[in-house]
Symmetry: C2
Subunit: 460 residues, 2 copies
C-alpha cells in the first residue's frame, strides 16, 4: 500500500476509530454493486456517521490525491460504487436519520443512508409518502440522488429530480455546502441541486436531502390489460397519456416477461401476452372513472382483457410481481446471470424501439424479456447471460445494439440506471463532444484533482 493512503487511514483513525477499516471482507463487499462489472477492492472502507467526519476525511483525501467512492446500499446497476482506482469507499449506510418531517409543507429532510422503505414506513401515519420507487426497497435516498433514479411512479410523480428540494453536499476538498432549500421553486442563482443529482458521486458527496412528499391518495386502483400484440399495448399507452388520465403507474411486460411473472409470482388470470400493469390514484370516484376511461381506450386498441381491482391484496401481489421481474427472468433459465439494459426513447418511438429490440434479441440468439416504465418511454431489456465463457460478451454486445437503437431514435443510453462504467462509451454520441466538454469543465471546476469517483461517467 503506497504511503499516501496509509497516511490518510492513520489520520482518519483519529476521528473514525475502527470505522475506517482495511478488513478484506468489508473491502470485498464494497468492491462492486449489483452489476456484472469487474469488481475492484478499495484500499479501505470508511463508515461515516456525520457530515463533519465526511468533511474531514475528504480534506485528507484531497490533500493526498486519494480517490473517494460514495457507497450507499450497493444496489447500483452500472458499476458506480466500484473503486476502479482504489482509494476509500465512503460508506454512508450509517446515516439513517429522518431529520425532520413537515406535514403542512409536505416535505422532509433525511440523511443520505435512509432507505425509501424506511422513509415510507415512517411517513405512513402522517398520510404522506415518498413516491420514487426504483424497485429495490433498500436503496438509499442518497444513492437515488446520485444516479437520478426513477421507477414505476415517475409517470405521475416525477423522478427523484422532481422530488428533491435541496441537498447538503461535501465537496472534493471537504467544504460543505447547502443547495436549494425548502421552497417549492425559486429563481435564485444556478441550480446546483440538479447539478449534483445524477452526478454519480463525481462532483460531491450528498449527505442530506430535502425531499418533497405527497399525500397518500384516498383511493388506489390497479389494473392489468392484455393485448394480442405489442403494438396495441404501446398505442394504448400513448392514448392514455394524451387523454390526460393522471395514471400513477403504467408498465409494460412483453409476452416472455408476462410468462415469467405468471410462473414466478403465481399471477392468476393472465395469459403469456403483452401486458400493461396500471395504477390509478385519486378519490374513490376518481380512480373508478380513471380505470373506466383506461378500459375504454384499451378496448379501442383491441385489448383482449382488462381487469381492475381496488383491494390492497390484488394490488400488492401485482406490484410485488413487477418488482420481482429480475428473479422471474432468472427463473426462466436457472444458472444464468442477468444483465439489465436500460434505454429510453420518445413515447412515439416506443413501438419502433421495442419491436426493434425484439429483433435484436432474436438475432443475438440470447433469451431476453422487455419490461418497463413505458409511460416515460423507458424500458429494460432483461438479458439472460448464458453460463459459457463468451456469455457476458454476447450479452454486452446485445446491450450495445439496444443502446445504439435508442440513440438512433432520439433516445438516451440510460433512463434511470446511470452512466457509471457501462454507459461511458455512449456519452459522446449522445451529447456531442462539445456538451461533453462542458460536463468535463464542470467536473474540473468542482473536483480539480479528480478524486471523486474517478473512472465514472467520463471515459478517461
Amino acid at each position: 500500500m503506497p504511503r499516501a493512503i496509509e497516511d490518510v487511514i492513520a489520520a482518519a483513525r483519529d476521528f473514525l476509530g475502527e470505522r475506517i477499516t482495511t478488513n478484506v471482507a468489508l473491502r470485498e463487499h464494497h468492491s462492486h454493486g449489483q452489476d456484472p462489472h469487474k469488481p475492484h477492492l478499495p484500499d479501505a472502507v470508511a463508515f461515516i456517521e456525520t457530515g463533519e467526519e465526511a468533511s474531514r476525511l475528504l480534506a485528507l483525501c484531497h490533500a493526498q490525491n486519494i480517490p473517494v467512492v460514495p457507497f450507499g446500499a450497493g444496489s447500483s446497476l452500472e458499476g458506480h460504487v466500484t473503486p476502479v482506482r482504489g482509494g476509500i469507499s465512503l460508506d454512508l449506510s450509517h446515516l439513517t436519520e429522518i431529520l425532520d418531517v413537515s406535514q403542512p409543507d409536505m416535505d422532509c429532510r433525511v440523511q443520505a443512508g435512509v432507505t425509501r422503505e424506511q422513509l415510507n414506513e415512517h411517513l405512513r401515519d402522517q398520510g404522506l409518502f415518498f413516491p420514487v420507487d426504483p424497485g429495490t426497497p433498500h436503496c438509499t435516498i442518497g444513492g437515488m440522488c446520485g444516479t437520478r433514479a426513477s421507477g414505476t411512479n415517475a409517470v405521475r410523480y416525477g423522478t427523484i429530480r422532481e422530488n428533491v428540494l435541496g441537498l447538503t453536499v461535501v465537496l472534493a476538498d471537504g467544504t460543505m455546502i447547502k443547495t436549494g432549500g425548502r421552497v417549492r421553486k425559486a429563481s435564485n442563482g444556478y441550480d446546483l441541486t440538479h447539478l449534483f443529482i445524477g452526478s454519480e458521486g463525481t462532483l460531491g458527496v450528498i449527505m442530506e436531502i430535502q425531499l418533497r412528499l405527497h399525500p397518500i391518495p384516498d383511493a388506489i386502483s390497479a389494473a392489468t390489460c392484455q393485448f394480442p400484440s405489442l403494438k396495441g399495448a404501446v398505442e394504448t399507452v400513448i392514448a392514455i397519456l394524451q387523454s390526460g388520465i393522471p395514471v400513477a403507474r403504467l408498465e409494460l411486460l412483453d409476452e416472455l416477461q408476462t410468462q415469467a411473472c405468471i410462473a414466478y409470482s403465481k399471477l392468476e388470470g393472465l395469459e403469456p401476452l403483452p401486458t400493461l400493469f396500471l395504477e390509478f390514484h385519486g378519490s374513490k370516484a376518481g380512480v373508478e372513472e380513471q380505470a373506466r376511461q383506461a378500459e375504454e381506450i384499451a378496448a379501442s386498441y383491441e385489448a383482449s382483457s382488462f381487469a381492475w381491482a381496488m383491494d390492497t391484496e390484488t394490488r400488492t401481489r401485482l406490484w410485488k410481481a413487477r418488482h420481482d421481474v429480475y428473479w422471474a427472468v432468472q427463473g426462466l433459465r436457472p444458472g444464468h446471470k442477468v444483465l439489465t439494459a436500460d434505454t429510453i426513447v420518445p413515447i412515439s418511438k416506443l413501438d419502433d424501439a421495442i419491436l426493434g429490440v425484439k429483433e435484436d434479441i432474436a438475432g443475438s440468439g440470447l433469451a431476453a424479456t422487455v419490461v418497463g416504465h413505458v409511460g416515460d418511454g423507458n424500458f429494460h431489456t432483461v438479458i439472460l447471460v448464458p453460463p459459457e465463457p463468451d456469455g457476458m460478451d454476447r450479452a454486452w454486445a446485445l446491450d450495445r445494439r439496444i443502446v445504439a437503437r435508442a440513440l438512433a431514435l432520439g433516445g438516451s443510453c440510460s433512463g434511470e440506471h446511470g452512466v457509471g462504467i457501462g454507459k461511458r462509451e455512449f456519452l459522446e454520441a449522445e451529447h456531442g463532444p462539445e456538451a461533453l466538454a462542458v460536463m468535463r469543465s464542470i467536473k474540473k471546476a468542482l473536483d480539480p484533482r479528480g478524486i471523486l469517483n474517478p473512472g465514472k461517467i467520463f471515459l478517461n
Copy 2:
C-alpha cells in the same frame, strides 16, 4: 466608442447587415426591462435570426472581450436585460419559429423568441397546451428559461424547470451545444439543461427549447372564495394541498388587492376581503368533485363565500383580472410607479410571512398589496412608489425588509423573477459563501472572460 466594439460591429455587419445597429432609439429600447433599475445603453443591438449568426457574433465578442446581453421581450422585472457594462444587446425576438410539435410525445421544439401566447395559439387545434404562465402574454420562452419563470399554473404543472426537456445553447466562445433531448427523463451525465435554466444569460445564450406539453383538460372550473381573515385563506390553501386535490391554480389576493381588482376589472360579487382564486382541471365529473371538496375545506376554515363556475366567460374574466393586478394596483394611486417584490417561503410559513409583510408595509408608510401563487408559497408585494424624490428608495427599503423576512423563514429572495441586479445582495445570505463560490467557479469554467451578461447574479 473604443476600438474593440467598433471592430466587432464592423465584422458582424458582414453577416448581419443592418441587423446590427447603433440606432439610438433601438439602443434605448434595449437599455432596460420592465423594472425600475437604472437603464444603460448597449453599444449596439444585434437582431439574430439563426443559431449560426449568434455563434459567429459570440465568437467575435469573445475574442474582443465585449459583453453580450440576451434580450427577448424585455419584460424582465429584475434588470436582467440592462447592459450595465455596455456591449451588444443580443435581440432574439426574430427567432419565432415553432420548429416541431409532436402530438404523441406531447412535446415541441421552439426558437427562443416564441412567446407563450403564440405557442398556445398554435397548439390549440392539437388539444395540447404549454402551461407555464407568468402573466405577460408576450414573454418569450427563451426569457422564461433564463429567469426560471413560473406563474399561476405551477402548483399543478410545475415551473419552466419541469417543462423543459432540452436546449440548444450558444456558449461564450460561440460553440453551440445541445443539452437534454426529447426523452422525459434520463440518467446520462450532468444535468446541463437545468444548469442553463435560471442562469439569466450568464452561462450561455439559449437558442432553442424542447418543451413538454400537456393535454388541454376536458373540463375546467374556476372558483373564488373569500375569508374574513388572511389566516383562514392560508389555512385553506394548506388543507387543499394536503387533501391531494390536484388544484391547477391557487392564488391569494389580500383585501387591498381584491379591492383594487374589483375596481379595475369590475369583478362582481366580491367583497374587499382576502380572496382565493382557484382553478380545477380534469374530467367534467372530476372538476365538479374537486370544486366541491375545495368548498368543503374552505367552509371548515370559515370562508364567507365560495362561488364556482364552469363557463369560459367567468373564468376568462377572473384570470384576466388576476393578470391585471399590476394595473389594478397602479389604478389605486394614479401617478405612482409600482415595484413588485417576489419572495417565496415554505407553505407552513405563509401565514407568518404574509402577516409579517403586512406589518412591514404598515411600518413603511407606503401602500402595497399582497398577491401570489400561494400554492407554491410564492407571493408578490406590489408596492406603490410615491412620486417623491425618495419614493423609490423607500420602496427598495421595504423590498429589502420583505426579502430579509422571507430568508429568516427559510424562504428565498426570488420565487420566479430572478436575481438580475436587484437580488444580488441577498445571494450570499441565502446560499452561504461556499455555495456561492461553487456558482462562481461554474461561471468561470463556462465563461472565463466574463462576457455573458456581466453584472448579473453576482455582485462583482
